[in-house]
């Protein structure tokens, strides 16, 4: 009992830094007396919270000792040394850290990573140096090498991040408009890198061999002559038709080995590009998606992240700080709004629900009819532009571009209509954005798909004079060019004048109708994804499309930067990227699938048109993919040939599919077992924590009772002695 008292006093001294020890204890006794009258043997979670953390035994709990970060006071050393006067100097050094709970646990962990103040770190450093003199040469050399390596790595990392282009610009944009807009520009930069990679692959597989080994003897040299004009660059005919831009340029030249020839290289190049893009898109999708899916809704930490990671400590500018404050506030308000929305949703009566669903049905029918109308327009425009001939050159230009113009017009107008429609459907804000996005994605992909389908049909029917693949490539080329023109014109003919009207005549009807301009992130990202899809679809017919894509994307970067910085105002509502980014990646994947399908269909079609008189490109002159590949495979050694034929047969495909199914099942079941284990552990933690609280409270209660009895007895004895003495 006396030991306990001594220990308690010691702890009090250490914690409170030597104040009137007796007074402190009495003061605390008084508190506990008051609380004791309410004692119960059940541990309630809320009542005992204040006394739990003031109990003496609490500080001795190992869990509390372990997580107290090192706080050093000046008088620390003396206090601790006074207590451990029966230990040796070496132990003293170690125990100093021990009693404060922070140990130099891992000598290999760098000093800077320890959560101690610099004094303590310095002493730890001295201690380690003493150890080093015992360690020997090899170990100290290894340690210094690892330190140097780390420094070099850090410097390289710093240099690399400085090289990334447009870093300053992005920083400025983030300061003024927030993280969402910056994410758009980061995505744009990523697409530029992707296109540059495609360009490199095209050069390596397609353009390079043709440049070095030449084309077939029958092909015309590339000269700007005769009927060529500047219009060719817009129409894709004439000079451009004969240039490396299109499929028809790449014929089988002097590179004529059985396995290394132009057609095979061309095909390999395109397939590599598509495959690499698939890997990069899938990787990008899973990286962001993994954490959320694994944890499930119960463990989503959205609000905690907003509060604890919400403030960006690097903000120096007062304007940026104000913006950040309003972002955080609006984000939290959005969260609260969604909470109250889900509350409202749960409280809907049956009548309200029926009316709402009816309204939603009508609006969806409206959306479908709008989509149907758009598709018909596109079909009509495709027909007109393909069958036009013999007009004035300006009219001809316009009619040739009619299909891209219609598609661009439809893609520009309808998403905003969808946005307006979804505001009537009574969804939460995130759900509204996602519904609009799903509809817009469907619109864009389906319009592209329908356009390609009609192109396919009509070019097959008409039995072109010219190369069919070039015709296809020409349409995609026109689509790309026009998309860029549309971006350019929207920025300079729509956004900038609107901003001027807002500035000069703020009270006029026009400016009141149009309202302030915001940078609508979802629609802009959708545009980027759509242009990348078009690029992928057309790459087989127009190998230089990535180059055109890179140039247009760089130009788009500067145009959008101009739009954002000069014409737009920061939006109040923050765009929640999480579910929407999944949708964007899904659209990218769908675009890739569409590209692969068109290439596959075209390759398959080659068989049927074996006797065309107009064959062009690498697979002309009666060659198909299967022919060329067959020639290559036959030239391989016997072992490789038999392996390849085995891999292509059913005997390999079936076990492969079976193995994949088994592996997937095992992963899914493991994931489910892990989730169950997480649930069980969480329950266990709650239980043992309340056990701990109960036991601590019991212990304190018993201790107090004993001490009071002791004191009461001592007082009684003292009174007796006073009375008797």
């Amino acid at each position: 009992m006396s030991d306990n008292l001594c220990e308690e006093r010691r702890l009090v001294v250490v914690k409170e830094e030597v104040q009137g020890g007796e007074k402190m204890e009495e003061h605390r006794t008084v508190n506990f007396m008051r609380l004791l009258s309410d004692e119960s043997t059940h541990s309630t979670l809320s009542e005992d919270s204040c006394e739990y953390y003031q109990t003496e035994i609490f500080d001795q709990l190992p869990s509390i000792q372990a997580c107290r970060p090192g706080q050093c006071t000046q008088g620390f050393l003396e206090v601790c040394e006074a207590k451990q006067d029966n230990t040796e100097p070496g132990e003293k050094l170690r125990n100093r850290h021990l009693s404060r709970g922070s140990r130099d646990k891992e000598p290999m962990q760098p000093l800077r990573n320890l959560a101690l103040c610099i004094q303590a770190k310095r002493s730890a450093r001295i201690q380690r140096k003493m150890q080093i003199s015992n360690i020997g040469f090899w170990e100290s050399w290894r340690r210094s090498q690892s330190i140097n390596r780390r420094r070099v790595w850090e410097q390289m990392g710093g240099a690399l991040s400085g090289i990334l282009p447009w870093q300053h610009m992005l920083h400025a944009i983030e300061g003024r408009f927030g993280v969402g807009v910056k994410a758009y520009f980061v995505f744009l930069r990523y697409l530029i890198y992707l296109n540059l990679l495609h360009c490199a692959l095209v050069w390596g597989f397609i353009l390079g061999p043709t440049v070095f080994h030449g084309r077939s003897n029958g092909s015309e040299p590339l000269r700007f002559g005769g009927n060529d004009s500047i219009l060719d660059f817009f129409l894709g005919k004439g000079y451009v038709d004969r240039s490396p831009v299109f499929y028809g340029f790449y014929t089988r030249g002097s590179l004529n080995l059985s396995c290394l020839n132009t057609p095979l290289l061309y095909l390999t190049g395109i397939l590599t590009i598509l495959f690499l893009s698939l890997i990069m898109v899938v990787r990008r999708t899973t990286v962001g998606f993994k954490h959320r899916w694994m944890l499930g809704k119960r463990y989503s930490m959205n609000v905690s992240y907003k509060i604890f990671c919400g403030w960006d400590f690097t903000i120096l500018d007062p304007a940026a700080a104000t913006l950040k404050h309003s972002f955080i506030r609006n984000d939290l308000k959005l969260f609260l709004e969604e909470q109250s929305f889900s509350l409202r949703e749960a409280q809907r009566t049956l009548g309200q629900k029926v009316r709402l669903y009816l309204l939603r049905l009508i609006l969806n029918v409206l959306v479908l009819s709008l989509l149907g109308g758009a598709f018909y327009l596109i079909f009509y425009a495709t027909e007109t532009s393909l069958y036009e001939s013999g007009h004035h050159w300006l009219v001809s230009l316009f009619l040739q571009y009619l299909a891209p113009i219609t598609i661009a017009f439809v893609n520009l107008l309808l998403p905003h209509v969808f946005r307006k429609i979804s505001s009537f459907e009574d969804y939460s804000f995130t759900m509204q954005v996602n519904t609009t996005l799903v509809r817009s994605i469907f619109l864009k992909l389906a319009s592209l798909g329908i356009y390609l389908f009609f192109l396919f049909k009509t070019t097959k029917e008409r039995q072109q004079r010219h190369c069919r693949e070039n015709q296809f490539g020409r349409e995609v080329y026109k689509l790309c060019i026009f998309n860029f023109l549309a971006t350019f014109c929207t920025a300079f003919l729509l956004n900038y004048p609107r901003k001027l009207v807002q500035e000069k005549y703020p009270t006029s009807l026009l400016s009141r109708l149009s309202g302030k301009q915001h940078f609508l992130i979802p629609f802009n990202v959708l545009d980027l994804v759509y242009s990348q899809t078009v690029s992928w679809v057309g790459i087989y017919y127009c190998p230089l499309l990535p180059l055109i894509g890179t140039v247009t994307l760089v130009a788009t970067f500067y145009i959008k930067k101009f739009t954002v910085l000069r014409c737009c105002v920061a939006e109040d509502r923050m765009f929640r990227a999480s579910t929407s980014s999944v949708l964007f990646h899904f659209m990218l994947l769908l675009g890739l699938i569409m590209a692969a399908t068109t290439v596959g269909v075209d390759l398959y079609q080659q068989d049927a048109t074996l006797n065309r008189m107009c064959s062009c490109g690498p697979f002309g002159n009666g060659e198909t993919v299967f022919n060329v590949a067959g020639v290559c495979v036959n030239s391989l050694p016997r072992l490789a040939r038999s392996t390849l034929s085995y891999l292509a047969s059913e005997a390999f495909a079936l076990p492969l599919i079976l193995a994949e199914i088994i592996i997937l099942t095992s992963y899914v079941s493991r994931g489910r077992a892990n989730q169950k284990a997480i649930e069980r552990l969480k329950d266990m933690l709650v239980m043992s924590s309340s056990d701990k609280r109960f036991l601590v409270k019991q212990h304190t209660t018993l201790l107090r009772r004993r001490r009071d009895k002791c004191r009461a007895r001592a007082e009684a004895v003292g009174e007796d002695s006073v009375v008797s003495g």
Binding site: M301, V303, H325, S690
Partner: protein, 187 residues
């Protein structure tokens, strides 16, 4: 190596290099920044470890900290006396932990200290309310503040005591995707 500086001994600079994430040049630059906060108080010669502390008011006016709503708490949690008076060692320590090279675990420890306004080693509801008010400049209504704090505790509290201990906090922050990128100060 021909360093003409007389502020620190070589031994001291080596110690700083090992104990913080800064190089020699950066330590000297930090000393220059520390000195310009109060040129009359801060000695130019630190070779014999002078006892010099700058008050909270001077440090929170530094441009790096000026716009931060938690500036007082940051300085307080790195000061020995808990009142925000920083010696040079503590000054360097503060910027070292907040630099980009500090690991996540170290930052989590100090982030917990910063958000713990009543210094009881737990993030209780009052701490969260104060944090929230500082973040939003008190523009949320009390009911909204209450709701958000309750939701936070509900999300992050693992052991069911309606407070966030350090283990809860660390568990939550270890999965935060942008903790490292927001919780650093460049100097």
């Amino acid at each position: 190596m021909g360093n003409k500086q007389t502020i620190f001994t070589d031994e001291q600079l080596d110690a700083y290099q090992d104990c913080t994430f800064f190089t020699r040049k950066e330590i000297l630059r930090l000393h220059a920044r520390y000195h310009e906060l109060a040129p009359h108080l801060v000695p130019m010669d630190y070779t014999n470890d002078p006892e010099c502390k700058l008050p909270l008011a001077l440090i929170v006016n530094m441009p790096e900290l000026n716009e931060n709503p938690f500036r007082s708490r940051i300085v307080e949690s790195f000061s020995e006396d808990g009142m925000g008076n920083l010696s040079f060692n503590e000054f360097v320590d503060m910027f070292s932990v907040l630099s980009e090279m500090a690991p996540r675990e170290l930052k989590a420890i100090y982030a917990f200290k910063i958000y713990d306004f009543n210094v009881d080693n737990y993030l209780c509801k009052e701490d969260l309310e104060k944090t929230l008010n500082k973040l939003t400049k008190e523009e949320l209504t009390p009911e909204e503040v209450e709701l958000v704090c309750e939701k936070t505790i509900e999300e992050a509290d693992l052991d069911g005591d309606h407070k966030l201990s350090f283990a809860d906090f660390e568990n939550m922050i270890s999965r935060a995707p942008d903790f490292l990128s927001t919780f650093h100060i460049r100097i």
